[in-house]
């Protein structure tokens, strides 16, 4: 029996079968379901990121559904766990795009997971909306073509000059060091920051990295101290930032820290007073005085998920971005007139929306660069003060403009 199944014969058989039927395959054109798919982390060390974005997404969908839904239909969320692994994010994308047949997919925390989606999204013709991950290459593809990926979040290429500018403002001699995590996001930021420095006519005096889970950064910081670093541009998240602050305390070296959006509210909880004065680029803060609409969103999240208050919103910018993103999608679908992915994509270029993060007018433009809805003028500088991450104007650490 086995001899009849020689590899060659088998292969030819299968090729033949495939070819014979390939020509007759009909192109599937179907309208999509009124659902929004999501792939993010629900388990592991970054499990909170998926849960946090979910707060805002659910609240936004509640608002929309209570107001009659989109195009008269109630819209649901289908959220899946990717365990931080790109291949699983792709699995989930197919699940969302094909099995659930959702009209759009939103993305999670991790840049590699978003980058891995390019091909599958193209293949399915499924629009994707990022709400946190800020990697430049998520939106600006090397191929020069981006059909389906959009984002309501920051972009590292724009964040870098923003961070460098504020770091330079706090470094009298312009001695800036870069400290970044060894992830796609951290590593991806290196060229952006270097370019931003070059634009200022300067070079980084130190560039150091650390692994996720590292807690002792004395080696890196010692080198930075020896290099005379005055301000650090930081790409990392709360946990490692805590390690950085404690290592700084240990070696008695405390330069200014200007961090990308990865640091959220938790650093205040763990590092306490050590975090005072750490500056974080972001799009939003739920602390302090809020506009009425933002306040209503906060109240809704607090009520629905039993939160204690803004201190439980550990990704302040991410949650705000996600809230706006859902409204932008809803508005675009109203313009599209039906649950059709192609039409939704076209409509995204037509949407104007007054969000809580910014006034999106229009949300997107047809250049690849402007598949990012939030432009640098909406970036804000936040600062830790007494364990709380506030807009810098509400702290004693100066205002964002200096």
């Amino acid at each position: 029996m086995i001899q009849t199944l020689r590899p060659r014969g088998l292969g030819a058989l299968m090729l033949g079968a495939a070819l014979a039927t390939a020509a007759t395959a009909p192109a599937q054109a179907q309208s999509a379901e009124p659902c929004i798919g999501a792939s993010w982390e629900l388990t592991g060390a970054l499990a909170h990121t998926g849960l946090q974005i979910r707060y805002a997404v659910e609240v936004a969908l509640d608002e929309i559904n209570e107001a009659g839904g989109i195009l008269g239909q109630q819209v649901t969320l289908r959220a899946y766990d990717d365990q931080g692994e790109p291949a699983r994010a792709v699995d989930n994308a197919f699940r969302i795009g094909e099995q659930d047949n959702c009209v759009i997919m939103i993305g999670g925390f991790r840049t590699p997971n978003a980058i891995a989606l390019r091909e599958p999204l193209d293949e399915m013709g499924l629009p994707w909306m990022g709400v946190i991950s800020a990697g430049t290459r998520v939106i600006e593809h090397e191929t020069g073509e981006n059909n389906w990926m959009f984002r309501v979040s920051m972009k590292d290429r724009w964040v870098a000059p923003f961070l460098v500018e504020h770091a330079m403002a706090r470094a009298p001699e312009g001695r800036i060091g870069l400290l970044y995590e060894a992830t796609g996001w951290g590593q991806g930021a290196v060229p952006d920051v270097e370019a931003a420095m070059a634009e200022q006519g300067m070079e980084l005096v130190a560039s150091e990295t650390f692994n996720i889970g590292d807690t002792d950064m004395t080696a890196q910081l010692s080198r930075m101290r020896d290099a005379g670093v005055e301000a650090i541009v930081f790409y990392g998240v709360d946990r490692e930032a805590d390690g950085v602050l404690r290592s700084m305390q240990r070696i008695g070296f405390r330069p200014e820290i200007v961090s990308a959006w990865g640091i959220g509210g938790q650093l205040g909880n763990t590092a306490g007073a050590l975090a005072d004065g750490v500056l974080v680029a972001g799009t939003f803060s739920w602390w302090g005085e809020l506009e009425p609409r933002a306040q209503a969103v906060l109240d809704a999240m607090v009520e629905r998920f039993g939160l204690a208050g803004p201190q439980d919103l550990l990704l302040p910018s991410g949650t705000a971005n996600a809230y706006d993103a859902i409204h932008i999608i809803a508005a675009a679908l109203e313009i599209a007139g039906e649950f059709d992915r192609e039409k939704l994509r076209e409509a995204l270029f037509e949407v104007s929306h007054e969000g809580i993060v910014a006034n999106f007018d229009p949300a997107f433009e047809r250049t690849m660069e402007r598949h990012d809805a939030i432009t640098p003028d909406a970036y804000r500088l936040l600062a830790f003060h007494e364990g709380i991450l506030l807009p810098i104007e509400q702290t004693p650490f100066g205002d964002a403009s200096n």
């Binding site: 029996m1 086995i2 199944l5 590899p7 088998l10 292969g11 299968m14 090729l15 079968a17 495939a18 070819l19 039927t21 390939a22 020509a23 007759t24 395959a25 009909p26 192109a27 599937q28 629900l42 388990t43 592991g44 499990a47 849960l51 899946y80 766990d81 931080g84 692994e85 790109p86 291949a87 792709v90 699995d91 197919f94 699940r95 795009g97 094909e98 099995q99 840049t111 590699p112 980058i115 891995a116 390019r118 091909e119 293949e123 399915m124 990697g135 290459r137 593809h141 090397e142 191929t143 060894a182 992830t183 796609g184 996001w185 951290g186 590593q187 991806g188 290196v190 990295t209």
Partner: protein, 635 residues
Amino acid sequence: MNVSPRMTVALTLILGVGALAFLPWWGTVFDSRFPTSFELRIVLRVMIIAIVVIGLNILVGAAGLVSLGHAALYGFGAHVAALLAVNAGLGFVPGLIAAVLGTAVLGAILAYPSVRVRGVFLAVITIAFGLVFVNILREWVSFTGGASGIPGIPRGELFGMRLSPAQRDGFIYYYVVLFFLALAFALQYTLLFSRYGRAMRATSQSENASRALGVSVIRTRTLAFVISAGFAGLAGGLFTYLSLFVNYESFQFNQSIQFLLMTILGGAGTLLGPLVGAVTVFWATVLLQAFEEWQTFAFGLMLLIVLFAMPRGIVGSLQDLLARRGARPRMRETSDWPHWTPELEAVIRPIEGRPDAVLKLEGLTLRFGGLTAVDNVDLAARPGTVHALIGPNGAGKSSVINMISGFYKPAEGRILLMDQDVAGTDSAAMAAAGVARTFQNTELFGAMTVLDNVMVGFHSRYQSGLLRTLVRVPAARWEEAKMRRQALALLDFVGLTDFADERAGALPFGHQRRLEIARALALQPRILLLDEPAAGLTHGEIEDLIRLISLLAEKGLTILLVEHHVDMIMAVSDHVTVLDYGKVIAAGTPRQIQDDPRVIEAYFGHAAPGAEARAEAAGGTVDVSASAANRGAAE
């Protein structure tokens, strides 16, 4: 019900490949949305992972080596294909070949330290390797893209077709992967049921017996590593052309653990285990998503339950169940033995040239630390005779056997095999040179069949190399059939024909002894060393064994016999050497030995003055002079 491996493979290939080949068209034929590209992608991913697990099954299930770094080999293959595609513009086929070969080479490098250690040490090396690999991938940003990975890998092409799994491309990539899975599955079969597979299983069950049968443990394990790595590399390359994006995150420690789980859960060492394991575990991770943040907990719980309920894995446990239910109460009977057939002439032959001694020991000495276990022993075994080596417990008999068979290196002295000094040669080479042995505490390959046990003995006599064996060229199949005939003849010789398909470990003890002798004979030995072959046998069995040994000697085989069972020594041996405290204390014919006072004392003890002490202490009298030892000595 007994499904032969051959049928399993044939059925799986026909039904499985057929069903999988049809799957993409299900929706078209039955006009349903199923399968969507999500379902197909899951099937694709499982197929690719199954290839890794098949490879791991060869390593774990056959060679008994646990790798906790297999994800790294998989990732290496993926990166080789990805980097060659992006940087060198290499196409699908050359990329895949490079992935397989490159990973196999890496497997060989990894095997170097790995096969020399066992158990946890091996686990540590493979874990360390996996972590180093991921660390390099993550940090060598300029080469691997670091965590951002390598995106934009061009889709492969084959004969001008886009290798995409999408319907508009005729699911072509799906079929490519299916083809490789079928190929991997078929190769797994041809490998496991070849002499190489047998050698791997043999080394995992008894290193000593393997060496004694001329199977090099190191080489066999290295081979298992290399082949296993090749499979992982193949799967890695296929993954690259599926995902068109690779970064280190798909190849971390937890992925290695998952591969191992799939192997064990499916049933290590079984043919279908890797497929079942890969499907079960991967689907579980997809289905358990419903538990959200509790899903890993549910996953752990599921594993625990399966590991407890099915320690031999799903397929292994089902096989056991089937075997138990299907076991008809057929009495297996041992036929009359020894049973000589002409077929055996090819296996058991007299020594050519008739030298005066097949084996000669001259001044053989062995020391453990300060202790001299064997002290200046001389011995000569003439062709076609039975030479007995006897002595009380701890006299050094087994040590002598172990030196002759290459397990111990003598401190001094010469071991002349056909007048050539072979002292210090390693055991596998010694076996290949014609020294066959059995073990005091039978060292069978307990989980292998009785027939396979004997087939391992033929290992060093095969001509066909790995490639010919795997592809099953006619010459290789003919050779296998020949060895099989001879093995059956050997089983017939010891009366075990009826038990050929039984697990060797399940045999009654007496049968195990006989099997071990048959297996040793498969080496076509010049000299056969029997280490206490009668221990644990019944009277009847010993009678048969005596006839077997005599018959072998009659056919020209030279035998060195270590035995406690004195009846037997007296009955079969032509010459006896007696050891005590490592020294030769007597040598001669059985009759001479029997009445030698030194021998009696060595065996039996002399009249202990302790008897008098006891008598004094007890205040009674004991007739010491009547002690049997004294009488024996006086006779």
